[in-house]
């Protein structure tokens, strides 16, 4: 038998195979395994009979010897006990489907030629025999890819631990992974091959898995190598964003300003507030270009420090004065925020003009003997404030009504949410 005839036989077998494609590659291969040899031998038999050899073209067009490949495939599949009528009825022919199918056949034929060529190489036979044995490995990988895609599609509702979405870390995720693997394996074994709708879905799943496997594996690798850092965050037990930031927090939010009232309920100005270690209690951090929205005020405000006797900026002097953000600009030379010409620092609106006066204090006024601000040295207005508190018996400046939550603001564990 000539090589050309063998090629013809292979092409005919290929055509038969393509008509069995809907059964899945496993079954199609199983049904057509050894078909070339059978066809070739029958062809040789007929040649001996001499009936078809008269005209070489007849012999070359094997469809005229064996019948159309479609009919041959139909006979083969129905004798083998598979659904005799393939896709034709339910899958309408469309240009897109036809194009996809013919492209697929070209690819398949190309792949088969490639396999044949590889098999001819030294050691290629071993390769061609061994690689198909690894098919179950691909089934498992495909199941994993489906699992990851499902995890991503469900947006972490099935488990969002530090391994997500690449590895299961919840019961539901484990169940999903196992289910995906089982479906993939069963599909690989040719189950559901005759069930059109599921089959189409699984073919799409296969294509998706082929496309997604490399990027997902790369992402999983990256995630796995970085995963070591996660426990540090996780064991810190707090939101890393909120952790070490200065400021005064009341009711879960940073406050921009503090308002101080004396025992009679009168507002005080230029009150320095420090914590129990003498550190300034600040609401506004350095740079001070942050803007704060004030309750009931349309424009956000920006605040300014008070300069002490030695020329240093003091940010813990309350209430901070400032101006609406629109009245600030930047100094061209230093880059520091400055007021636009014509604008001036103002007191922001106080929550109320006067607080409730305090009645009957149980503690004596001895705290006046411990004047605050020792660390800072300069206490321009503090004596008056402390003096009035001393009358009410309040222990020290930081225990003003708004201060307690802010007092430990610089300590490592703020009284945050």
């Amino acid at each position: 038998m000539t090589t050309m005839l063998l090629d013809r036989v292979a092409a005919y077998a290929e055509a038969v195979r393509s008509h069995l494609a809907d059964l899945g590659p496993e079954i199609a291969d199983e049904l057509t395994d050894g078909l070339e040899a059978d066809l070739a031998e029958e062809l040789a038999d007929r040649s001996i009979d001499g009936a078809e050899t008269a005209d070489d073209t007849v012999l070359l067009d094997l469809a005229r010897v064996f019948g159309p490949a479609g009919e041959y495939a139909l006979e083969l599949r129905s004798a083998a006990g598979h659904a005799p009528v393939p896709s034709a009825r339910r899958l309408r022919r469309t240009p897109v489907r036809d194009a996809a199918r013919s492209t697929w056949r070209l690819w398949e034929a190309w792949a088969r030629r490639l396999v044949a060529r590889v098999a001819a190489l030294p050691g290629g036979g071993w390769l061609v025999e061994t690689v198909p044995l690894l098919r179950p490995v691909w089934w498992l990988v495909r199941g994993w890819v489906w699992f990851v895609l499902l995890m991503v599609l469900t947006g972490g509702t099935l488990g969002a631990g530090r391994l997500a979405p690449f590895a299961p870390d919840s019961f539901v995720a484990w169940a999903l992974l196992i289910a995906a693997a089982v479906v993939s394996i069963e599909h690989g074994r040719g189950r559901w091959a005759e069930r059109r709708r599921i089959g189409g879905l699984l073919v799409a799943g296969q294509a998706l898995a082929v496309l997604a496997v490399v990027p997902l594996a790369a992402a999983a690798w990256t995630s796995a190598t970085q995963a070591h850092y996660y426990p540090v965050y996780a064991s810190a037990g707090s939101d890393p964003v909120a952790a070490p930031q200065d400021g005064v927090v009341v009711g879960g939010m940073y406050v921009s300003n503090l308002f101080v009232y004396d025992a009679q309920g009168n507002p005080l100005h230029d009150v320095q507030i420090v914590d129990d270690r003498g550190r300034p209690v600040r609401t506004v951090t350095d740079g001070s270009d942050s803007v704060w929205s004030l309750p009931g005020v349309a424009d956000p405000w920006q605040f300014a420090p008070v300069v002490d006797a030695s020329g240093r900026d003091r940010w813990n002097v309350y209430p901070l004065s400032g101006a609406p953000a629109g009245e600030w600009t930047w100094d061209a030379a230093s880059g520091a925020p400055v007021l636009v010409p014509g604008a001036s620092l103002q007191q922001p609106p106080a929550p109320f003009g006067a607080a409730e006066a305090l009645m009957g204090t149980g503690v004596g006024g001895s705290v006046a003997a411990a004047p605050p601000g020792g660390a800072d040295g300069t206490v321009p207005d503090a004596p008056s404030a402390t003096g009035s508190q001393a009358a009410s018996g309040a222990p020290a400046t930081p225990s003003e009504p708004t201060a307690p939550s802010g007092a430990p603001a610089q300590s490592p564990s703020p009284s945050g949410p």
């Binding site: 199983e30 050894g34 070739a40 031998e41 041959y72 599949r77």
Partner: protein, 109 residues
Amino acid sequence: MDTTQLLKGVLDVAVLAVVAREDGYGYDVVRRLRAGGLEEVGEASVYGTLRRLYSSGALTSYVVPSDEGPHRKYYGINAQGRTMLAAQRKDWDAFSHAMTGLLAEGDQR
């Protein structure tokens, strides 16, 4: 009479019987069936039947490489296949006896 319709029902047992005598590959089985008198048998039907009998566990299968061309897939019968063949042979005997009787009776009238 269209013998292809008749063949459908008995192809299994015919293929089993042929393979039981000696292992064979697809076209070899076709040739032996044709030589045995089933000239109308379609190759694809025989190949499909062999695959199905193999899938159901009645046959064993092995591949024999060929120097000249594509490999051949041989089939042989196993214990389950022999049991199946024995049962179907019995059925066929009873059926053909009944048919022969029926047809002969019809002749006599």
